[in-house]
Amino acid sequence: MSLPIAPKPAIRRFHQASWDEKIIFELSTPGERGVLVSRPEPALSEAVGDVVAGLPAGLRREKKAALPEMAQMRVLRHYLRLSQENLGADLNIDVGQGTCTMKYSPKVNDALIRTTKLVDMHPLQDEGDAQGVLGLIYNLERMIAEISGMHSVSLHTSGGSTAIWTNIAMIRAFHESNGEGEQRDEVITTIFSHPSNAATAKAAGYKVVTLYPDAEGYPDADALRAVIGPRTAAIMITNPEDTGIFNPRVKEWVDLAHSVGALASYDQANANGILGITRARDAGFDVCHFNLHKTFSTPHACGGPGAGANAVSEALAPFLPGPVIEKVGDRFALNADRPQSIGKVAPFYGVVPNLVRAYSWIMALGAEGLRAVAEIAVLNNNYLMKRILEIPGASAPYATGRRRIEQVRYSWEGLFEETGITSEEIGVRATDFGMHYWTSHHPYVVPQPFTLEPTESYSMTELDEYAAVLAEVAREARETPEVVRTAPHNQTVHHTHHDDLDDPERWAITWRAYQRKYFS
């Protein structure tokens, strides 16, 4: 063959890096060192004697920890290889982790946080030495307050679910402060609200009532009316829900809550479709939270750290975790003197690197830009929905013929009935093309579900590519189902057997347990 080169096929040919690396303990060689530690100075050693020998009886570790012994480059090489075996949102068209808002985390924000002026700050330094970071956090709080319409904001939590926990903890404290702590022992949520609303409420001691939507998938106000009452501490809901459907009667829900003395808590982890369009406070919510790692672009970091923002009405402000940052003249000061506060929810002031990233992201976009984010995210979502629904066997249950906001919960029910191939299997096969998706939260109310959320970050061409891959896998499901069933084929590892993972006799949660159970 010679030039010119033929056009590329419609579907990308892909293989993920595959290094077949051993487990790190198998790479150990006695005597190798990865990094050396500064040792006590001779004079210091002399002054204090042998501190290890001097440890009280029983406190001196007898056998060194059985960590691997590896030269520095070998450790590096191992982990770099593992990194190539991890897809990463930067590498793929990551629209398949719907509800998770896998948007672009700008590299400039990663660069900005790496300054010694942030990395090497101790949280208890003189406030005078921390004016830069305190001011930045303060201003970010104010921006989040504006975006939510709320009065006050705390950025202390390091994830969305813990931010939801913080919401319910504040609600609990609020009711207790009114002497209604005992009486109000129920929380109402919906099945298409994120499971952490139910789970945190339960952890905070509440009975959880979960409502199902109406036939068209809209949250059902009548169902709410049927259960709400004097025992209700709060409604805790997501909107738009996991289905991408916005509850048009959300204000009615909030009013219902208020009418019985309950509070309304809004899970805005993913507010990506409504930034600058509508605000929590405008619908009357008392408290809400955002995930900075969804809506505000901080990277998902393999599952954290993220960062949560808790925004509350004036009435709830006294309950926010402490300390809070106050602006006194042009200085920023910490105030821990807050008697009604629920106290600490995490060490110090939150996931500071992510706060700086989120601040920078907002500053790069401004009000118009944020609204454009929402609009383009919604345009992308409805465009992708069009493409997906062109695939025979795919459907978008509920709200028939209507638009969605930022994501769609789809179903492969049709395809499954025709071919017996499940949504999980299709997702796994998609990885052979450098794509992937996530099915959905349990329970699978929508059968054979998958949830796509394109965010604002992907171009039309990329959305087309993504849809084309799903169409191709659907075609395979009909024509060569074995290929799908035995997938993946172009991945780091092959079809994996998960039976051992649920059996206490057989599971192996660490290398030492594996050695003990199977090789001793």
Binding site: R61, V75, V119, Q125, A301, S360, A372
Partner: protein, 472 residues
């Protein structure tokens, strides 16, 4: 969007593309997508936010200028700890966790995200070796949460409410733990004696409603507990368990609590490869034995080994997923969510780099430097240590003998570029040294404190901000 430019973060805001997409979906305008948002909820004016810095160079100039107002611990000599520590972070750790593939991944399957599963399985396994325990979770948010959850596990397992708090606990941690556990548990505090647990008093208190005895070692004041086995025996005798909250930084040389009867060991891994980040980089571990009674109570994900269709290939997956709120919502154990996985990967890389000898060296260096600082500071007239316990990394000095408040010491030393520690009482200062603190650094601190005490130059300032109560 009326902006005259297409934003680099918004590809499809390019006018032609946007028009084509609208046409493809048969919409006149983006408004159509929002029909379900009632008019009265629609924001009428643009958000009131600062003018954007759309050119990356302008953004950089702005944010750099904001942060330039900070003065970091590299520009000060810092003896601050109290939860966040200045340990060395090997460059390889940052290299690995800054890899785009790790930084931006989220929740893929064990196929396309094999690397993440293996890295976190290895983290679990490396921590397990350090702790001599068989099970470690994918990290939760921080040591506060790890401790709160560990106590809650004890409650759920036993159906009891009693927790005996045997050690001095960092006030912030206690604040978090208390608010978290209060629906299910009651904390009983037994004051420490000479820095560590009052074993006799605790033994007297353990009873039928005791779910667990909770030790912190090193404690809030840096004191290392020596009676773990005795307290474990007492707990076990009453059908309770022993929970040890700890910073694992010393276990290269110190016996891990599991060897002395601990059932759950938990704490924070900030010391393992995470920078100080103004207190913004913490992750919590919970370690237990390979006992399903404990494991089934853990809320976090646990990654386990699994076989694949190919011989000799390591696969991975979630162990006992049905415990989690992902699987069963409020029927799961507490909840699971985005927590601190990347920090777990960092800690794994850190432990692999350090190896057995590195961790032993680190432990020794910490013990030696701590001891030296204790000896030198308490050698000054009017200065004494608050207890005789063994200390790791932190200890409290008492200036009451010199009638100088801790606040004044802090003010005076700050003027000399030194952060001498955290004020924990009128006359008490919590001083922290790590392997980053050289003998010369300690000598400089001691000289400065000496000078402050000698001179009447000690400023009895009012406005000192660096108090632990502050953030409590």
């Amino acid at each position: 969007m009326t902006q005259p430019f297409v934003h680099p973060y918004l590809p499809n805001s390019a006018p032609d593309v946007k028009a084509a997409m609208l046409a493809a979906v048969g919409a006149e305008s983006i408004e159509e997508f929002y029909v379900d948002v009632p008019a009265d909820l629609r924001l009428q004016a643009p958000l009131d936010l600062p003018a954007p810095l759309v050119a990356e160079q302008d953004l950089v100039r702005h944010v750099e200028a904001v942060l330039a107002a900070n003065v970091s611990t590299k520009e000060r000599l810092s003896f601050l700890g109290a939860g966040t520590y200045n340990h060395f972070v090997p460059a390889v750790v940052d290299e690995v966790i800054n890899r785009s593939e790790f930084l931006t991944a989220y929740a893929g399957e064990p196929y396309e995200d094999h690397g993440r599963f293996q890295a976190l399985f290895q983290y679990q396994s490396l921590m397990a070796e350090l702790l001599n325990m068989d099970v470690v979770n994918v990290p939760t948010y921080d040591g506060f949460q790890a401790t709160a959850t560990s106590l809650s596990m004890a409650g759920r397992m036993s159906g009891r409410r009693g927790i005996i708090v045997a050690s001095d606990v960092l006030p912030d941690k206690l604040s978090r733990v208390s608010d978290f556990v209060r629906p299910n548990l009651d904390l009983a505090f037994v004051p420490t004696v000479n820095g560590t647990a009052d074993v006799a008093a605790i033994v007297a208190l353990v009873g039928d409603d005791t779910a667990a005895i909770w030790i912190e070692t090193p404690s809030y004041t840096g004191a290392v507990e020596t009676a773990i086995q005795q307290l474990a025996d007492a707990a076990h005798a009453a059908g309770a368990i022993l929970i040890v909250g700890t910073d694992p930084v010393g276990y290269g040389v110190i016996t891990p609590p599991a060897d002395q009867g601990a059932d759950i060991v938990c704490g924070d891994i900030q010391a393992f490869g995470l920078h100080q980040w103004f207190g913004g980089a913490h992750a919590g571990f919970i370690a237990v034995h390979d006992d399903p009674r404990f494991i089934m109570e853990m809320p976090s994900r646990l990654f386990g080994l699994a076989s694949t269709d190919v011989e000799g290939e390591y696969g991975f997956g979630d162990v006992a997923y049905d415990r989690t709120s992902f699987a069963v919502r409020e029927e799961g154990k507490e909840w699971v969510g985005t927590a601190a996985a990347l920090w777990g990967i960092a800690a794994g890389v850190y432990l692999a780099l350090m190896g057995p000898q590195g961790m032993a060296d680190l432990g020794e260096t910490l013990l030696a430097r701590t001891r030296y600082a204790q000896v030198e500071l308490s050698g000054l007239t009017g200065v004494k240590l608050t207890d005789d316990a063994l200390h790791l990394r932190e200890f409290v000095v008492d200036f009451s003998g010199a009638s100088v408040t801790a606040h004044s010491i802090v003010s005076t030393l700050r003027a000399a570029g030194i952060e001498p520690g955290v004020v924990v009482g009128e006359y008490e200062l919590l001083v922290c040294v790590t392997e980053m603190t050289t003998q010369a650094d300690i000598d400089r601190l001691v000289d400065a404190v000496d000078a402050a005490l000698q001179n009447n130059s000690v400023v009895n300032t009012i406005a000192v901000n660096n108090t632990e109560e502050k953030s409590a």
